[in-house]
């Protein structure tokens, strides 16, 4: 029988408890890091005073924006080589969440930029520029998938585009860095200063971990939705064929 209709029973069994567990764990970790960021940690004049508290939201979203595109590319690659349907579902599910986190990174960066630079948007910030391009890559990926008429074509086209984008990301990053180094670069956050004390670093890393787990929970939920969707489509097709 056609193997791609083999129901991913094991995935559904696993994700049934894994998705809510990740959701709760992620929310708890994010809440803890927010509490630390707003109530506990002292302000740091090196990072521009109180506004540095935005770091605990902005930086995890930036890491996730970058990481999710890599996840999308890896899932696409796995699908392209082994044609494992779950990999395609993962790629499809990562895209909207990754785009959301990318938008969140851009918005928080712009708000942080206003008091720091005096303007909402500085084109000189290499990191922000890379994230902006990531946002366009996500949009293009979703638009291309939506434009294809069957699920199989959407998977193939999406995989090709994600891999082309992924091999270009280092080049894009490099070129944007070169360009920003010519115009005096000014990042909202200075990651290259003195080593960050643990009182900042711990909530930052915990927050990033929390967002990562939360991201995984949403991806699993969307993948479950996709499995249900496809099972429904199979029944629909059977009905149409049966008359």
């Amino acid at each position: 029988m056609i193997s791609i209709f083999a129901n991913p029973h094991r995935f559904m069994k696993l994700s049934r408890w894994l998705a809510p567990a990740c959701l709760v764990a992620g929310i708890l970790l994010i809440a803890w890091s927010l509490w630390q960021a707003l109530w506990v940690v002292p302000q740091d004049d090196y990072q521009g005073g109180d506004i540095m508290r935005a770091m605990f939201i902005h930086v995890p979203s930036a890491w996730l924006a970058m990481g999710s595109y890599m996840g999308l590319a890896v899932a696409s690659f796995v699908w392209f080589i082994w044609r494992h349907e779950l990999a395609d579902m993962a790629a499809k599910s990562i895209a909207p969440i990754g785009a959301g986190y990318t938008a969140m990174c851009l918005a928080t960066g712009a708000i942080w930029g206003k008091p720091t630079w005096g303007t909402w948007w500085l084109w000189d910030d290499a990191r922000m520029m890379s994230v902006l391009l990531m946002f366009f890559l996500f949009l293009g990926y979703m638009a291309l998938r939506a434009a294809m008429d069957t699920r199989q074509k959407a998977a193939r086209a999406g995989a090709i585009l994600a891999m082309v984008g992924a091999v270009n990301v280092p080049l894009i990053k490099f070129s944007v860095d070169i360009w920003a180094s010519i115009h005096q670069s000014a990042s909202v956050i200075r990651m290259d200063g003195p080593a960050m004390p643990a009182i900042y670093l711990t909530p930052l890393l915990i927050g990033a971990l929390g967002h990562l787990i939360f991201f995984a929970a949403l991806t699993l939920t969307l993948m479950r939705a996709e499995v249900w969707q496809r099972r429904g489509d199979v029944i629909m097709a059977r009905k149409l064929a049966g008359g």
Binding site: L144, A147, A157, I160, V167, L171, S175, I178
Partner: protein, 220 residues
């Protein structure tokens, strides 16, 4: 593959089609010149202001002009059945895709590069920079057309895919635009033109394979 005849034939067919169907080079040239003409109207006609942004305007116009006709490059082949025939050739499809992209660049890209000094002069750019800058525009144009070809192949089966092609291709244009603009700046000889050449070579190495994978999907 025993002989380059299929590649030559694909190149010739694409050239003939561009001249017959799409008014050849005239359309992109008209677009390019028209887009550049809007600039003095929108930013003002002061000579030093225009000179400051002139090279950048030419890059933007070149990038957009490379997208204008990309929609039809593979879609026309898909619609009339030619793509099915190419996909069954013994000659690898990526070579056919490369031939078609090169033909398209010859018709719609090269004339723009040759035109840049003329438009540059009207944008008050110093005349002695314009000829060296043509090398940068030529290299950059090749990269634009390569990535545009990938996007065009991906969107070949999409009706009215022009905007989709732009959305897919523009992020990939960024390295070329950055290195190209730096290489075209006065006095900036040195690594930037090499970076530009490297990013163009990268595009030429990756794009044909991606385009042929996308074309196999389009005929399926």
């Amino acid at each position: 593959m025993r002989s380059p005849a299929p590649i030559r034939a694909a190149f010739g067919q694409a050239l003939a089609e561009a001249w017959a169907g799409g008014a050849g080079a005239l359309l992109p040239i008209g677009f390019f010149a028209g887009a550049a003409m809007l600039v003095p109207f929108t930013v003002g006609s002061e000579a030093n202001q225009l000179a400051a942004i002139g090279t950048g305007v030419l890059w933007v116009a070149l990038a957009l002009a490379s997208l204008v006709s990309m929609e039809r490059l593979f879609q026309a082949d898909l619609e009339d059945g030619t793509l099915e025939l190419w996909a069954q050739e013994a000659c690898p499809l990526f070579l056919i895709a490369t031939a078609k992209i090169f033909a398209h660049w010859t018709v719609s890209g090269l004339p723009l590069v040759l035109l840049t000094p003329l438009i540059g002069i009207t944008l008050q750019l110093p005349a002695d920079q314009l000829l060296p800058a043509m090398l940068a525009y030529g290299l950059g144009g090749l990269a634009f057309f390569s990535w545009g070809g990938v996007a065009g192949a991906l969107a070949a089966s999409v009706p009215r895919g022009g905007l989709l092609i732009a959305l897919l291709a523009l992020p990939l244009f960024v390295p070329t635009a950055i290195f190209g603009a730096l290489a075209a700046e006065p006095g900036a000889v040195g690594p930037n033109i090499l970076f530009l050449a490297a990013s163009t070579l990268f595009a030429l190495a990756v794009a044909p394979f991606a385009a042929s994978a996308a074309l196999r999907l389009a005929v399926d």
